[in-house]
């Protein structure tokens, strides 16, 4: 019995099916709308659609980005709203963090940018398992989803294996940065600890199964009509085709029931269309609803069983910083809007402690919403548009990610709903690491210096620290641990508190490296499924 159809859930399910288990998956399953004009490029959508404004901005203008000091330089368009829609009655209060939730078929990865980075031995040192335990499952998942990668200077930090596929062709701006890096590589590495490589992305350069290769349409953010960018919904399709798989959509799992020996006896859910309570039974249960939602299910189970309000400490999240920069060499060239829109390049900045390694991705500006960017320039809008059009081919953003560690001050808990309706609301309290500000400043300084050494200009005052929670890389509330520690799980994801409950998603990570963790979630879920008891 698997809860959730995101990156963890589907790879857990598929490996379990391949190992002879029967699998039932419970899911809210908000569905992706059908792509509009599948063959049209970003520009063609604006001239061919009958009502392009409603498509790009939404029927009520919800896609218009107004001034805000904390806003990202790009947001999620109306066509991706289904990814973030939350069912009524799922209540959350939070402090020092803006958590996001996904109840989509495929989860958050319906809106990701495909970054797929294996953790290395250093990253996995705080885990009760080794890289050797993980590497075979990285390869299994890589073959399933199709990751493009190249042997490059990131290999010491992001392991490479033969399961990867060719990378996508570079856009002109990324190509220039790539060439310039190789001219100045020694200085960048030795002085700045800066290593550049190709992004490892789950975007197809060649067709895989029923997914087509990237068509360079430039509409990645709005939803790839070729399905070249991997989504767990693709793996879910494989599962659904399997005779031993049952997919139950339209149910929101609230909690599970367990006996006095800690054995889970069933899962209680609310049917979305009529709000009726339904119960599902299984032998083994796997929580893969995402770190926050899975934690709420456990907290609710404890509350309903014993009346105890439990607390899950250790919530982690990657802080993200956007560093916009300009490459003067590209000014005056034509911008290619019909081009793969997301990042082609990734970088790492080494630190004395390998766990502090800083990871980032560089996205050169191709197709984009113009108005969120021009409003941030320190000019009236007429001048800002002119300057933006002049600089556009040379604009890019370095998205810097910082690692996070478990702390007792970052917690999840629940409290009974104020409505008195027998529900609870999730309480998220993120406790900042007092050293993080210094680490962030140091990391950003290093990245800026490296970009300058590459020949790029970093305009002052435009670096943005995104609101905590934006990364949606949540983790750490029920971590894998060698010995029982609260509601931890063992190295196979089996809960220390509940005898037949597996924690499959990011909740089980004991440390959150700066690299996007989605690929590791998939591989770890596959590893856990392979270790399920047989019979």
């Amino acid at each position: 019995m698997v809860v959730g159809s995101g990156a963890s859930g589907v790879h857990f399910a598929l490996t379990a099916l391949e190992n002879g288990h029967d699998v039932t998956m419970l899911d809210v399953g908000n569905e992706r709308p059908s792509p509009v004009s599948p063959h049209a490029s970003f520009d063609q959508l604006k001239t061919e659609l009958p009502d392009p404004v409603s498509y790009f901005l939404g029927a009520h203008g919800e896609g218009v980005v107004y001034p805000s000091t904390s806003a990202s330089y790009y947001g999620h368009p109306p066509s991706k709203q289904y990814v973030f829609d939350v069912p009524s009655g799922f209540d959350v209060t939070s402090s020092a963090m803006t958590p996001r939730f996904s109840f989509a078929r495929g989860g958050f990865a319906e809106a990701w940018t495909g970054g797929a980075y294996a953790f290395n031995r250093d990253d996995l040192a705080p885990f009760p398992l080794s890289y050797d335990d993980m590497c075979r499952h990285y390869a299994i998942v890589s073959r399933r989803i199709g990751i493009g990668a190249t042997r490059d200077d990131l290999e010491p930090f992001i392991p490479f294996d033969e399961s990867y596929r060719p990378s996508l062709p570079l856009d002109p701006h990324s190509q220039w940065l790539w060439d310039r890096y190789h001219q100045r590589r020694d200085r960048l590495q030795q002085i700045h600890g800066f290593h550049l490589g190709r992004s490892r992305v789950a975007t197809l350069s060649h067709a895989l199964g029923d997914r087509k290769a990237c068509g360079q349409l430039g509409r990645c953010l709005w939803g790839c009509p070729n399905e070249a960018i991997y989504s767990p919904a693709h793996t879910l399709r494989e599962c659904i085709a399997h005779p031993r798989f049952r997919y139950v959509a339209g149910v929101l799992v609230r909690h599970f029931e367990y006996d006095d020996h800690g054995a889970v006896t069933g899962v209680v859910a609310r049917r979305m269309h009529d709000r009726e309570t339904v119960r599902f039974d299984g032998d083994v249960y796997a929580l893969a609803a995402g770190a926050l939602s899975s934690s709420k299910i456990v907290l609710d189970a404890i509350y309903r069983h014993s009346g105890t309000i439990a607390v899950l400490p250790g919530l982690m999240d990657n802080l993200q910083i956007h560093v916009p920069f300009l490459t003067p060499h590209m000014i005056g060239t034509a911008v290619q809007t019909a081009s793969y829109q997301f990042h082609h390049l990734a970088f790492g900045v080494t630190r004395p402690d390998p766990l502090d390694y800083v990871h980032g991705q560089i996205t050169s500006l191709k197709s984009a919403s113009v108005h969120p960017i021009v409003q941030s320039l320190p000019l009236d809008l007429r001048a800002a548009i002119g300057v933006f059009r002049a600089l556009r081919p040379g604009l890019a953003v370095a998205n810097v990610n910082l690692p996070d560690r478990r702390r007792q001050s970052s917690v999840l808990t629940v409290r009974p709903s104020a409505d008195g309706d027998d529900e609870t609301e999730l309480v998220v309290r993120y406790g900042e690491d007092p050293d993080e500000s210094a680490r962030m400043q140091s990391a950003v300084r290093s990245v800026k210096r490296a970009l300058s050494a590459l020949g790029c200009l970093v305009p002052p005052g435009m670096t943005r620290v995104l609101p905590r929670g934006t990364s949606v890389h949540y983790a750490g509330t029920m971590p894998m641990a060698s010995a029982r520690d609260g509601y931890s799980s063992d190295s196979n994801g089996l809960s220390h508190a509940f005898r037949n409950l597996y924690i499959v998603d990011g909740a089980n990570l004991p440390f959150l490296p700066s690299k996007n963790h989605t690929f590791t979630l998939m591989a770890n879920a596959s590893r856990i499924a392979e270790g399920l008891p047989r019979g």
């Binding site: 001034p67 005056g332 911008v335 113009v370 800002a384 548009i385 002119g386 300057v387 556009r392």
Partner: protein, 156 residues
């Protein structure tokens, strides 16, 4: 306002003036219809338009391209959430996604680095002059109406 409703003259006038300012283009019925329909969503729920400075900026914007540029430049630095600027951003968002105007806004200026550099510097200088004029004109009004910026953003 429904999509088929006639567009009031003041909204049509505003839309045309803003479109010329933003994209050097005449507006189309398609753009104007969407602008009229979405214009209420650009307002803050706790409206600030009653403030004297807000009314002053909007009134100046109706006088022509130069006053509009001064008002927008002033708002960029001193009232970034001003209703004028929000309406301009709404129209810009519509224009960049509308047939006809999308090509201009989604393209780059091609040419040699010195040529493009001169255009950037000229744009920056013109913007700075307009900002300085805007400060002279609007800052007394702003001081008079209470210098605090708009309340926190809450979308309708």
């Amino acid at each position: 306002m429904s999509a088929d409703a006639p567009i009031p003259d003041d909204i049509a006038f505003e839309c045309r003036a803003f479109a010329r300012f933003l994209a050097n283009s005449e507006t189309t019925p398609y753009v104007m219809s969407h602008y009229a329909q979405l214009r209420p969503t650009a307002a803050l729920s706790a409206t600030t338009s009653a403030r004297i400075i807000e009314r002053g900026l909007l009134a100046a914007a109706r006088l022509g391209s130069l006053p509009l540029r001064m008002a927008d430049g002033y708002a960029r630095f001193f009232l970034p959430r001003a209703l004028l600027r929000r309406r301009l951003l709404l129209l810009l968002a519509i224009l960049e996604n509308s047939p006809g105007s999308e090509r201009h806004l989604n393209s780059s200026i091609e040419g040699s680095l010195p040529m493009v550099g001169v255009r950037v510097i000229a744009s920056g200088l013109a913007s700075t002059v307009c900002l300085l004029l805007g400060i002279v004109i609007f800052s007394p009004l702003h001081l008079f109406s209470g210098a605090a910026d708009a309340p926190p953003v809450h979308r309708h």
